[in-house]
Amino acid sequence: MLQKHANLMTDSQPILSLKSVRKMFGPHAAVDTINIDITEGEFFTIVGPSGSGKTTLIRMLAGMDQPTSGDILLRGTRINDLPANKRPTCMVFQSLALFPHRTVGQNIEFPLKIRGEDPAKRKVRALQLMTLLRLPESYYGKNVMKCSGGERQRVALARALAYDPQILFFDEPLSAIDYKLRKTLEKELKDIHRETNKTFIYITHSLEEAMVMSDRIGVMRDGKLVQVGTPHEIYTAPRSRFVSEFVGDVNVIPVTRAGNGRLRMNDSGRELVPPGKAPEFASGHLVVRPEYLRFLKQTSDADNALEGRLYNEYALGSRIQYQVRVGENVFVVEKLRQQPFSGKLDDKVIIGWDANDGILVSE
């Protein structure tokens, strides 16, 4: 991982703090007791499936909803009751919410016009932002609805940047965009984050998207933040099955601690060597990522080994995924394309992993 700017490392006052923030809809807590501190200049992503409360959360942060209880602090000042138009924050909407009756230039200049800046200055700033976002200058007078999907994204971001917010919120702005363009825009957004040094708070249902861009990720489920960490931590040390399964395919083995300190697979009773540090573990799941699983010549080649049958293979671009059936269970093994496994479908195979490559999760 690359070293970030110095200001990210200093432990100054957080730009945004959530203290026990709750939002009730009737008896149901859409957002349930959330505590986070966001550092100035951070790219923080909240990930969760639909209905996890992430949109409700970000609407409260932007000032479009009020929390039922708890406090939202901006640089230490409580802003619960500050309306959206008074907050130094700005949101890029899922629908983008561009003004369809205005040109690209007028859309970007909107917050400046509202502030009463003079037209010449507005235009200079709009053109600056268009350059930053790689929108051709000739688009200034173009009707915004004539722009392509990717261009509209950039207009929406430029408009939000024109407001010069201290924090930028993103409500799944890329979810309606096709895969290839989305991948490009994800990287562009991270570059823009570098250029502008602003605090970005992004919500998405795709952990993959979050991984690409974020400094830190918060995983939400049923209104609660279940884990907060760097992309690396979320990937390598998920604290629950839910988090582990959020990033692509994983092998999840239900296990119980056996008397001898080993793990016993719940279905077959087979004993496995646990990862080094799991002193308090009683029962739960052993998670093994597919790239840590290997095809073995003999069972003694790894700490843990299972015999199964090669069922299918899937080409995933740079990697190849193999599906291996062990009894009733399905395991996935991934290898780099350059080093494929040579075997035939329905061959008997041995798969295995080293004890420390497994992750124990109690939920």
């Binding site: 949101m91 909407f93 003004f99 909107f110 509202i114």
Partner: protein, 278 residues
């Protein structure tokens, strides 16, 4: 024959018979010699000459002025109501919509005579004021304000419902985004809601204008023939004076004037552009 054309054929035939044919008949009749009742006379411009030498233009101006005044008043009255129906009244807006719709089930003439009873000297309003409060006032019945009141009352739904639709088509996100970008409520209204609901307003204005230009009952019933709109002239030409070609010529002129105005307005406000489709 393409399938599209074949499928459109019944509607096309129906429109030809029900819409185009009467228009053509009226237009053709306007070129027939005065006081004739057949399509077979030698075409002449005599009817148009008669109109341009007469004082019919006064009726034309009255009709257009009344219609314009009605549209302006309706726009001012209906927009707040439509706004309330969409954004403010919440669950009560169903009931309110119903209350605005129910009068449409009663014949226009009956409703206008209702107004006569209400406004007439010693009627519902003035009678009550006199009996219970001792207030003596002049009745506005058979004056210009009474006609305007009647027209505004009768055409209110035709302005209200397109406006309601127009306002409800403004996306919540767009309004939220404007607020988020610093706009006050008034700025959100002026910069986003009003321009985005403009198509609904324009459609309401056009609809009520065209209907109001063709209004006749209000002037007759509530105006007591103080003011003669062009529609009244047309009716007289077709009935009392038995001069169908003259009536037809007046009708053609009215259609041309209204049509030209509508085209002008639609040119100025392209609905597709307003809706952001182009």
């Amino acid at each position: 024959m393409s399938p599209g054309f074949r499928n459109a054929l019944p509607v096309m035939l129906f429109l030809l018979a029900g819409f185009a044919a009467p228009l053509i008949a009226v237009t053709w009749f306007s070129f027939m010699p005065p006081r004739t009742f057949a399509f077979t006379g030698t075409p002449t411009l005599e009817n148009y000459e008669t109109i341009f030498q007469s004082t019919s233009y006064i009726s034309f101006l009255w009709s257009l002025a009344l219609a314009a005044l009605t549209v302006v008043l309706l726009a001012l009255i209906a927009y707040p109501v439509a706004y309330g129906l969409v954004r403010v009244f919440g669950k009560w807006s169903m009931l309110a919509t119903l209350l605005f719709t129910i009068p449409l089930f009663v014949s226009e003439n009956i409703r206008l005579y209702g107004w006569v009873l209400f406004l007439i000297k010693n009627g519902v309003m003035l009678g009550t004021l006199k009996t219970y409060f001792g207030i003596q006032a002049e009745s506005i019945l058979f004056t210009l304000p009474a006609i305007v009141l009647g027209m505004v009352y009768v055409y209110l739904p035709f302005m209200l419902f397109p406006m309601t639709l127009g306002i409800s088509m403004v996306p919540q996100d767009t309004r939220d985004a404007a607020t988020d970008l610093g706009a006050s409520r008034w700025q959100v209204f002026r910069e986003v809601e009003l321009p985005l609901s403009l198509p609904g307003i324009m459609i309401g204005c056009l609809l009520t204008f065209v209907l109001a230009v063709g209004a006749i009952a209000e002037a007759k019933v509530l105006g007591g023939q103080q003011i003669i709109p062009i529609t009244h002239d047309i009716e007289i030409a077709f009935t009392y004076s038995q001069n169908w070609p003259l009536g037809a010529a007046l009708s053609v002129l009215l259609m041309l004037v209204v049509g030209a105005l509508v085209v002008l307005v639609l040119r100025r406000f392209d609905l597709d552009v307003l809706l952001g489709r182009r």
